[in-house]
């Protein structure tokens, strides 16, 4: 825009507050998730508490209908959510980036076909695709949920990668590299990937949040990790059944999920500001 010329020095790439807050929120979840590997307040399968107890000093988030400590379950939920997020984004990134880069380099016909397939796949919500993939695996497990979400996310990643890679391939320095005889694989590694990486990283962070929500939804629908994996979605589904007598159970797992997703989104926001030198702060 030509509106106003402000010839000030560009603000240094300071770490923004969103980055710090996001890191902190995600960090808390990560710390809790690691902690559950060695210690939880109660044995997760112990039904020693009273049934459907309201939150108290003994049971910070109350107990479920079998008398299990909800706070313990929510802590384990952190671990599951992070596992699913990392796993699904990892799988989605591996498949998506590979196919996306291939499409960008492929012949016109193959590229068009892949682009059309991406477009159609992303018209379906991640959750719906994941549902179908879960249904395709014989037994529902944590890994089938991760795989399903990973495959569902790969279409989004693939589409973005293809667009970004094509944009890079049109630039002059690629032509320069080609005329100087650089091989295609080398061009991908030294030119394409480094250039699209910052944008992809931000996208991965956002996908992580999506995956966490989608996993909770899958579990809520009964298609996620089976018990004793205490996914927040399943906790909420169980809490809904007892919401007349014990409404508190429907609050805490949702809050935990909310905090994680907001943390991730803020983190992604911060990452965008730090990682992309061409993005200036808007007025």
């Amino acid at each position: 825009m030509t509106t106003i010329e402000l010839d000030r020095p560009a603000p240094r790439a300071a770490i923004s507050w969103t980055f710090v807050v996001g890191m902190t929120l995600v960090g808390i979840h990560a710390a809790i998730a690691l902690l559950t590997l060695v210690w939880t307040p109660y044995d997760p399968s112990s039904t020693a508490g009273g049934r459907l107890e309201a939150p108290s000093l003994l049971h910070w988030a109350g107990t479920d209908r079998l008398g299990r400590d909800l706070f313990t379950q929510i802590m384990i939920g952190s671990r599951i959510a992070l596992q699913v997020g990392i796993g699904a984004v990892g799988i989605g990134a591996a498949i998506g980036v590979t196919i996306g880069v291939l499409a960008a380099f492929a012949t016109r016909l193959l590229d068009d076909a892949l682009a059309a397939a991406f477009d159609i796949l992303i018209a379906f919500p991640t959750l719906l695709l994941a549902m179908l993939v879960v249904a395709a695996s014989d037994t529902a497990s944590l890994w089938s949920a991760i795989l399903a979400l990973g495959i569902a996310l790969s279409a989004i990643v693939g589409r973005l990668t293809r667009i970004l890679a094509k944009r890079v391939l049109q630039m002059d320095f690629i032509t320069a590299a080609r005329t100087s005889g650089t091989s295609w694989p080398r061009i991908v590694v030294i030119h394409v990937l480094p250039n699209i990486w910052p944008t992809l990283m931000v996208n991965f962070a956002l996908q992580f949040g999506l995956a966490a929500i989608a996993e909770a939804s899958l579990s809520y629908l009964g298609l996620g990790a089976p018990p004793p994996n205490a996914s927040w979605g399943r906790l909420l589904q169980e809490a809904q059944g007892t919401v007349y007598t014990a409404p508190f159970g429907a609050i805490a797992p949702g809050l935990a999920l909310l905090v994680l997703v907001i943390g991730i989104n803020l983190f992604a926001d911060g990452l965008r500001d730090v990682g992309d030198p061409t993005r200036r702060r808007s007025r």
């Binding site: 825009m1 030509t2 509106t3 076909a113 059309a116 397939a117 477009d119 159609i120 796949l121 018209a123 379906f124 919500p125 959750l127 719906l128 549902m131 179908l132 993939v133 249904a135 395709a136 695996s137 014989d138 949040g209 929500i213 909770a216 939804s217 809520y220 629908l221 009964g222 298609l223 979605g233 909420l236 589904q237 809490a239 809904q240 919401v243 007349y244 409404p247 429907a250 609050i251 949702g254 999920l257 909310l258 997703v261 907001i262 989104n265 808007s282 007025r283």
Partner: protein, 308 residues
């Protein structure tokens, strides 16, 4: 063309489902002859490409087959369930637009005021919340504490009892609209920001147009082009995402049919729901495209150029 490709993707997804669909017809303990007969009936003994041809030709005749489980025609079942899902989606969509457009514009125009910032914060919260949790919270607040609306269900006679049906849809619609509106607010806000920073708005004001007049005459049209494509995507994904909200409120809609079909391995039902959903998604995309072309002459020109 895209429909053909979509059905190919659909077909591939369905074949990914494990187990032989014939098994679903029989249950456990069937002998080999029975299985062979069932296979023939379902067509799963044919080579894949023949199965695909059969799949395509029956779809082209809008013959969606009969359910393995209930033996009812899939098409009729889908039509019945659309009378729940379509009103739910459209009402939520309308409510979301009514909420999100003014809020998004206020958030952009009054971004320096406290309430402008507050709207932005709330829309951030909204996109981080899963639909079903919003549903559960609304049930807790309105169905259990205030006893204003039922916590779920739908009248047996459907729209034969319109007052009851609307009452039952109120909380589901609110649930979907809340989530949809918060993501829409962000798009409306950023489209408005683009308009506010635009040179043409500045020109209009430099020549004596008031801010409101310039925004109405130039901003609405320019801002609506990106919003329309977002609206199309949101509408389609809400329609397809109805499975969750229908589960929360135990509504007999298309989503719950899909969920049931998946758990019962009822192929024709799953396939039919996915096919109708795909059709609707393509349909919505087509209309969003059309609407954008009506507004933006450059898009009209480009497509004309491509056609010739």
């Amino acid at each position: 063309m895209s429909l053909l490709l979509a059905s190919l993707v659909l077909f591939a997804l369905l074949r990914l489902l494990p187990g032989d669909p014939a098994n679903a017809l029989l249950g456990v303990g069937a002998d080999a002859d029975q299985i062979a007969a069932a296979r023939q009936q379902v067509g799963s003994d044919l080579p894949l490409w023949q199965q695909f041809i059969r799949f395509i030709t029956s779809l082209a005749r809008f013959d969606l087959g009969t359910s393995f489980v209930s033996q009812a025609p899939v098409g009729e079942e889908i039509l019945a369930r659309l009378t729940v899902t379509v009103p739910l989606t459209l009402l939520a969509f309308a409510l979301a637009i009514i909420l999100a457009v003014p809020l998004g514009i206020i958030a952009a125009v009054k971004s320096h005021k406290w309430y402008g910032g507050l709207i932005s914060v709330f829309s951030q919260l909204g996109i981080a919340i899963p639909v079903f949790w919003v549903g559960i919270l609304l049930v807790t607040a309105f169905a259990i504490n205030l006893r204003l609306f039922p916590s779920g269900g739908f009248p047996r006679q459907g729209w034969g009892n319109p007052a009851e049906a609307l009452r039952d849809l109120t909380l589901p619609v609110l649930t979907v609209a809340t989530v949809m509106a918060s993501s829409l607010v962000r798009y409306v806000r950023s489209a408005t920001q683009d308009v506010l920073g635009s040179d043409y708005l500045r020109t209009a004001r430099a020549l004596g147009s008031s801010f409101t007049e310039a925004l109405l005459r130039h901003g609405v049209r320019n801002g609506s082009v990106p919003i329309i494509s977002i609206l199309g995507i949101e509408l389609a994904s809400t329609f397809l995402g109805a499975v969750v909200v229908e589960r929360v409120f135990t509504l007999p809609g298309l989503g719950s049919m899909l969920l049931l079909g998946i758990s019962q391995r009822d192929y024709p039902n799953v396939q039919g729901v996915l096919f109708v959903s795909t059709l609707l998604v393509l349909f919505i995309g087509f209309f969003a495209d059309l609407a954008q072309r009506l507004i933006d002459p450059r898009l009209r020109d480009r497509s004309r150029g491509a056609a010739s």
